[in-house]
Symmetry: C2
Subunit: 385 residues, 2 copies
Amino acid sequence: MRTALHDLEASKIREVANAGLGRDDVLAFWFGESDEVTPEVIREAAIASLQKGETFYSHNLGLPELRDAIAGYMSGLHGKVAADRIAVTSGGVNALMLAIQMLVDAGDEVVAVTPVWPNLTAQPAIMGAQLRCVALQPQANGAWGLDMAKLLAAVTSSTKLLILNAPNNPTGWTLSRAEQQTILDHCRRTGTWILADEVYERLYYAPSANGCAPSFLDLATPDDRLVVVHSFSKSFLMTGWRLGWLVMPASATPHMGKLIEFNTSCASVFVQRAGITALEHTAEITPRVVAHLKTCRDTLVPLLQAVPGVQLAPADGGMYAFFKLAGHNDSLATAKRLVVEAGLGLAPGNAFAPEAQGWLRWCFASKDLQRLAQGVERLKKWAII
Amino acid sequence: MRTALHDLEASKIREVANAGLGRDDVLAFWFGESDEVTPEVIREAAIASLQKGETFYSHNLGLPELRDAIAGYMSGLHGKVAADRIAVTSGGVNALMLAIQMLVDAGDEVVAVTPVWPNLTAQPAIMGAQLRCVALQPQANGAWGLDMAKLLAAVTSSTKLLILNAPNNPTGWTLSRAEQQTILDHCRRTGTWILADEVYERLYYAPSANGCAPSFLDLATPDDRLVVVHSFSKSFLMTGWRLGWLVMPASATPHMGKLIEFNTSCASVFVQRAGITALEHTAEITPRVVAHLKTCRDTLVPLLQAVPGVQLAPADGGMYAFFKLAGHNDSLATAKRLVVEAGLGLAPGNAFAPEAQGWLRWCFASKDLQRLAQGVERLKKWAII
């Protein structure tokens, strides 16, 4: 067993969820997933494919028709993105792992902006990289912000890869277009690759021309050292399908094909058919999903803000309320107590970075808005005792 | 882009297949896959799950009921294998990659017995390992055999991992129980992990008590440094489903759970439901699949042996006829010519190791036996010209 793996932390979120095992009265908001089933039209596409007998291996990079559909979808949002820059993956996390396998040798220096989904910092560790974290700063209003000077100082010509997740899980922090331009210019100078996890780009609540968060794809040339990761999970309610994609320079795509061959061979054809149908129906599905999530956010945040000791700002993107609870400085202990004593399932902030100790993450992707209100009632009762 | 990845060869099998792109008259036997659709009862299980709305994330290690079913299936073949030793993966190749991520640091020495499926040697290279290959020897009758002294000399206390695939793709070589015992004893002395790719164990045509090739699981204790890789692909006609599993020491399983989280999160629930149904029906499905493959082998091999210049022995396991064709010493060039000039799609031997230069691999998993005979006719006509 490798030390690198042995030392990797098991998920603190799972640790909290385990504290509630066997209890069916817990209101669970700990995982980053809606409780809504995938739309029927998408499921029907997979069923039709299975009935047709599409049960064979397929192209490493994905069905040509899915790659074309993704290229069309991306081009609609970000300007021309050619299909030869697209690889279909077995989920967003798989896309991230493949990108890191492509770019990071053991010993290489990787910089990540945190707090962030722990998978993004675990993956370079699996490849034996040296990881340096640049912490976002919590501000007086409860929002988290980037100290650009600190980030630029951390990314030097020794930095192989910069990992960014914006809109951010867990903080809801987003990057402005101007900030992206500054980062891109800097990384061009240092020769650093940018790995942009933009899976939440459609879950964006600030005004925008295209209903989409600012993306590095809006600024970069096709040949920039940029890999962008996407997923069907969030915008299409397809978490369990394990389908995602990568956008990269076209010259990298054949090498990515090799990596997919050696990691998973390919995504299942019947799952890819579902992806094609999802994209065909994005005009109906995505605005509905996003509008509902915005209602969730706007329901939850004021209720939470009214709880004594709670500090948070509404997230500009993503599907999380990330808040500090005064007087409770150990997030993991607090989250476990909340499960056991209040029947409320939240994710502990220190699962995402040490600097988020004392914070809690609430996934507000709830079909039923009443569940959110009920959850806040449980928190309030527990916090006041 | 990493040099390690840049230098990885793209698949020579795909290179041959590409030579036939756009031609629908090629009889293709190049990929390791039956042309038979997954049995309906298995597809129906996935369809029912999708209709029920099982579209959410699930356990990293797999559904408890699938892990139990796999443990029961493995125990029936190899004596007690506990469910806490099982992890469900997104295919056999994914299981292999996860095992290598668990065991191999950059710079570690890995020994592999070749010729072998190229993924098995590419995966340690992706992790930055130092790979040493021990070549099987072709014998006068066309079968390939292991020089045990050579293997034992290659595996020393500096060897972190030994990779074995038996029944072997492409040669059909199998390990005897006595050989497995010798290897296990030796690796216990050197402290070397064994990674046994046993995905073809049910496709075994020599006499046996349990319809199964000898397995390291028959000999090892649960705590031996042994990881065994399996797949639903071959025995259940489920290649495109991307579902496999690992058997490992129970103490390693939680760490494997972390790796799965960071690589793919989990296998889709609806795919896992199909796996459960496959195992429930193994008594009907597997013997039928194996009997048909034996008929395929016994149809193809004598026909091939009758072609002038062909040298091969019937494989004891797997689903490949691996043969030498006199006067054609460049496998890749030969395979490409066969596609273009004869409409026959075979895999070139040197895709599997340099020592298999001059050999060709024919996957005999063909629903229609006539296709095999037709293919031999094309080969004969071409070879005689």
